[in-house]
């Protein structure tokens, strides 16, 4: 099967650079899948789980905020953070989720737009972490 080159780059260094079979990513307009020889494509990425398949094995990553570019049979993700599901500390993510929920409730009460947006973003990240870790364990 033809493969596509997947690259995930974050500010703290590249996370993956590998040939894979298929990539599924959380685009802003919904989840999308990319196979080998995809047409040139540019999309923004929201916080969520990215998965790719290689040697019949699927791996999951949590990614947050960025964009992806497909060209010349290569897909590049530029995201602010990316973590393998297997490396995620679920307890910590759970605690972060609870904290974010509390802050969100507080911000909603006070009608504080900025803090509300921040708490929402933190909650999304925590949820994406938990999901990526769960998917990895299945």
């Amino acid at each position: 099967m033809a493969q596509i080159h997947l690259e995930v780059v974050t500010p703290s260094g590249p996370v993956i650079s590998d040939e894979v079979d298929i990539v599924t990513a959380p685009g802003v307009g919904g989840e999308f899948g990319v196979l080998a020889n995809h047409a040139p494509f540019l999309s923004t990425i929201k916080t969520g789980t990215l998965s790719f398949k290689k040697d019949k094995q699927t791996k999951y990553l949590m990614v947050s905020g960025g964009f992806s570019e497909v060209s010349n049979n290569k897909i590049t993700f530029l995201v602010e953070s990316a973590e393998y599901g297997a490396d995620i500390d679920v307890d910590r993510a759970m605690r972060a989720k609870e904290r974010a929920e509390k802050r969100l409730a507080q911000a909603q009460q006070q009608a504080d737009q900025i803090n509300r947006a921040r708490a929402e973003a933190a909650l999304q990240r925590a949820l994406a972490r938990i999901r990526a870790a769960e998917l990895d364990r299945q």
């Binding site: 780059v9 500010p11 260094g13 999309s43 905020g65």
Partner: protein, 293 residues
């Protein structure tokens, strides 16, 4: 002629200082390696990002993206990035002087100036001016992307709400271990990259038209705040590497100065000791002569 004991105490004191400066030099060189590594790991991200910005921003002139909005400049915000700690030569004061000159220039043009400080030294420099709008202290040691995000969200909020019409960034750029210079960059409004359109066209010629999802303008709406994060983070990485390099040089100079001082003091000590011996001899000889007589 100073007393023998005084000179000896002074030599001991200076040699202890030189031990400290030598240790600080070694700590700085270890930290510089860490900071340079951080710079290296960040580079691919920054480069790819700049490339994408170049491709996309070409056609964005005249669009109504709020971060690219050019208005008449009445208020300028200057973001000053320095280190948290001193003892690194003139590194921090070079940055704050550059920022101050910039302020004077803007004020002469009748523009209102406010400061945002990143790093304690910048806060100390502008605290008393009454123009410091917000400060970020004690983050230069272990900063991460989310620190940069917090800062850029802060300045974006000011810009979008019309409190500032232009945002400048002043930081210490790392040229080499020996050279770090203050650098001024314009952060907001974000300007379309020059030659972007041609670059995008050339690229399209090679790979065919891109499919954008969502529309390019909406992509830019997401990308611009991220780009701002990248720029702030970049300045912080540069400053952190520069700080350690500057401290290395400063501590090396201090250690050398200590060595020179010890040499001088030792000479003084020997001279004083010799003088004392000569004096004692004179006394003995004088005494013996007196007994003979």
């Amino acid at each position: 002629m100073p007393g023998l004991k005084d000179v000896k105490t002074k030599i001991e004191g200076v040699s202890k200082t030189s031990q400290i400066t030598k240790a600080m030099n070694m700590v700085a060189s270890a930290k510089l390696r860490g900071a340079q590594e951080k710079m290296e790991t960040f580079r691919p991200y920054a480069e790819k990002f700049a490339e994408a910005m170049r491709d996309l921003s070409g056609g964005m002139e005249g669009s109504n993206l709020e971060l690219m909005e050019v208005r008449e400049v009445k208020a300028v915000e200057i973001v000053v990035v320095t280190s948290d700690r001193g003892l690194c030569g003139s590194f921090n004061s070079n940055i704050t002087t550059t920022a101050e000159k910039l302020m004077q220039k803007y004020e002469a043009e009748g523009k209102k100036v406010t400061f945002v400080s990143v790093g304690k030294k910048a806060a100390q420099a502008f605290r008393r001016s009454g123009k410091l709008r917000s400060q970020y202290n004690d983050i230069m040691g272990t900063f991460q992307m989310f620190n940069a995000r917090e800062i850029s969200q802060d300045i974006t909020h000011q810009f979008v709400s019309g409190e500032s019409d232009q945002v400048d960034l002043v930081y210490g750029k790392f040229h080499s271990v020996a050279v770090q210079r203050p650098e001024v960059e314009e952060l907001l409004p974000i300007k379309p990259v020059e030659g972007g359109e041609e670059a995008a066209e050339a690229k399209e010629g090679v790979t065919g038209a891109y499919i954008y999802e969502p529309e390019p303008e909406e992509i830019m709406e997401v990308l611009l705040p991220l780009y701002l994060n990248v720029q702030v983070y970049h300045a912080m990485v540069e400053v952190s590497a520069s700080e350690h390099a500057a401290r290395m040089t400063a501590m090396d100079n201090a250690t050398n100065a200590c060595k020179d001082m010890i040499d001088e003091l030792t000479q003084l000590y020997n001279k004083a000791r010799q003088a004392a011996i000569t004096g004692e001899l004179m006394d003995i000889v004088g005494g013996a002569e007196a007994l003979k007589g």
